[in-house]
């Protein structure tokens, strides 16, 4: 296997794949700095489109909404997902059915989840708005946080929990002083992942936002704007969203690798 890795052909294929993945994104980023208002005419580097974003009230309000949804749904999902992971891993004998139930929101197509949640909210007569988007995002974020924390728990040394209890700690003290500090890298990593997913989630937010512009999130705003054509402003916005996601994901990966490991 190894001797193929250095042939020019392999390097060529690698380059093609990388180009396929990243050239569109690079073009988008480059165009977001284009001074020209036309997508195909290059007129030099400028930050004017980033500046324009600051003066667009619709975009600012949508960005605010996205931040509210992402922060609150991440916070709720992180607490519940961590506790769920601990509960499931501590009582392993519950069987496969529970496993499937927990993982389902990660696998169910977004569109199905979106329709289901919409039906659920209209059936129960809940007025839709930011709070319904938050609830909807908690549904899938919970599954992702739980998955990340559970992965860490596979190598968790449960005897330290018993040791803590043996030394006189109550269950809550053990959670606070022993379990959570050891799991913290995974918990934060799960939270960052959830935040990233929530920031650029479109379909579910679109279905559960309800009528009116008050609860428009950033992806919904971009979708609305793009119907009138791709403007450099959207390129700038997309570049910003990507930067935020990239930073969060990098942090998440760092934490998961460099975390405290039990001997």
């Amino acid at each position: 296997m190894d001797r193929h890795a250095n042939t020019p052909l392999m390097w060529g294929i690698l380059a093609a794949v990388v180009a396929f993945l990243y050239v569109p994104i690079s073009v988008l980023m480059a165009l977001s700095f284009n001074d020209s208002g036309l997508p195909t005419v290059w007129r030099g580097i400028s930050l004017r489109w980033y500046g324009a974003l600051w003066h667009n009230a619709d975009i600012l309000s949508a960005a605010g909404n996205t931040l509210i949804v992402a922060l609150i749904s991440t916070a709720i999902a992180t607490v519940l997902g961590t506790l769920l992971a601990l509960g499931v891993e501590q009582r392993r004998r519950r069987g496969r059915a529970l496993e499937a139930l927990i993982f389902a929101p990660m696998i169910i197509p977004d569109i199905v989840l979106a329709i289901a949640l919409l039906s659920f909210f209209s059936l129960t007569g809940v007025t839709m708005g930011l709070h319904t988007i938050i609830m909807a995002h908690v549904v899938f974020n919970l599954a992702f946080v739980c998955a990340v924390v559970r992965a860490r728990l596979k190598s968790f040394d449960w005897s330290i929990v018993e040791a803590s209890s043996d030394l006189g700690a109550s269950g809550f003290t053990t959670l606070r002083r022993v379990v959570l500090p050891v799991l913290m890298p995974a918990v934060i990593s799960g939270a960052l992942l959830a935040f990233t997913l929530s920031v650029d989630e479109f379909i579910i937010a679109f279905f559960t936002a309800g009528a009116g512009r008050a609860s428009t999130t950033l992806p919904m705003q971009i979708f609305a704007m793009i119907r009138f054509g791709v403007t450099p402003e959207i390129n700038a916005l997309a570049a910003l969203v990507m930067a935020v996601s990239l930073i969060a994901l990098t942090l998440a990966q760092r934490l998961n690798r460099g975390g405290v490991t039990a001997p």
């Binding site: 040394d157 005897s159 330290i160 040791a163 803590s164 209890s165 030394l167 700690a169 003290t173």
Partner: protein
């Protein structure tokens, strides 16, 4: 005899259909070093976990100073356990690990600092107090685990597979250290081990467990010299068995067999098929007509020097009947 500190009464525990511990009744005195000895699956660890509070007995009582503690949660018992894996908190320094138990008791800060410093001096890890557990060697980790449990001054300290993970030299040093601590601190130690040498060296009394039951309990001398049955005889130390007919076997310890005896109750001839020098003594495997397995013989280097033997030599062995024991053969249960 004065009232026992710890008294187990008819303690039983089942896991599904397996009886892990079966009707164990046992008294342990204050300041005693007590060893629970048994093969894996003999129930010794389950018994220890019931004493620590991690398993609830199905039946029976655990009396500590006459009080039944069987249903108390682990954090409410004046009993501490040193885990086989040490179970040190990986995110805390050595100092914080040791202080943890006192913090749980909400002791004043000054008292905690003082007692931790004292304990660090005892385990001779003052210099590493601010290091993390993963920066320590196995022996150092064990000392931290011991200090963390000892600092609570428990009535009873439980030790799971005491020194299993350590190399031989460190082990001997720790054994002596533990004995010293036992006398200095005045704590009752209950040790679980599958290592019979360790039990013989360390313990005031030994309990041998088999299939969840207490097979024999006594001083190291008693269990070594007067095993109750063939299993116990085979389990503690090395034992030669010679078939004596009618389902019975004669058992004799290697050190009771003499080489070229002048007088002896039983004398037999054999050929040395293996020879191993151990410094203090010489161990021989001698094939005789008495048993299909060669007899294991242990002679002092002193005696061996007087009349050297080599592999292949013919030798005369002898022993006195007073040094032998007769056992009824048992069905070997796997």
């Amino acid at each position: 005899m004065k009232a026992p500190l710890l008294s187990l009464r008819g303690l039983s525990k089942r896991f599904g259909r397996v009886a892990a511990v079966c009707d164990v009744t046992l008294d342990i005195a204050g300041n005693e070093f007590f060893a629970l000895l048994g093969a894996s699956g003999s129930g010794k660890t389950t018994l220890l976990r019931m004493l620590a509070g991690f398993e609830m007995p199905d039946a029976g009582q655990i009396l500590l100073d006459g009080q039944d503690i069987a249903s108390l949660a682990p954090n409410r018992r004046p009993v501490n356990l040193m885990f086989q894996s040490y179970a040190l908190f990986p995110h805390m320094s050595v100092r914080t690990n040791i202080a943890y138990g006192l913090e749980m008791e909400r002791r004043p800060r000054a008292e905690i600092a003082e007692r931790v410093a004292e304990m660090l001096a005892v385990i001779q890890l003052d210099g590493l107090a601010d290091g993390r557990p993963d920066q320590l060697s196995g022996g150092q980790r064990q000392r931290v685990a011991l200090a963390r449990a000892l600092i609570k001054r428990p009535r009873v300290l439980l030790l799971d597979e005491l020194l299993g993970a350590l190399d031989k030299k460190l082990r001997t040093a720790m054994q002596l250290e533990l004995k010293r601590l036992q006398h200095e601190v005045g704590i009752t130690f209950i040790v679980v081990t599958h290592d019979q040498d360790e039990a013989l060296v360390m313990a005031d009394r030994i309990a041998i467990m088999k299939e969840g039951r207490l097979l024999q309990c006594g001083t190291p001398h008693e269990v070594y010299e007067h095993p109750v049955d063939r299993f116990a005889a085979d389990f503690i130390g090395v034992m030669n068995f010679i078939e004596a007919g009618r389902g019975r076997s004669l058992a004799i310890r290697p050190e009771r067999i003499r080489l070229f005896p002048e007088t002896a109750d039983t004398i037999t001839e054999g050929r040395v098929i293996a020879r191993a020098y151990h410094g203090l003594d010489l161990q021989l495997h001698v094939q005789t007509a008495l048993s299909p397995r060669p007899l294991r013989v242990r002679v002092t280097s002193d005696a061996a020097d007087r009349r050297p033997v080599a592999e292949g030599d013919s030798v005369t062995l002898g022993w006195n009947l007073a040094d032998t024991r007769m056992f009824t053969d048992q069905e070997e249960t796997p």
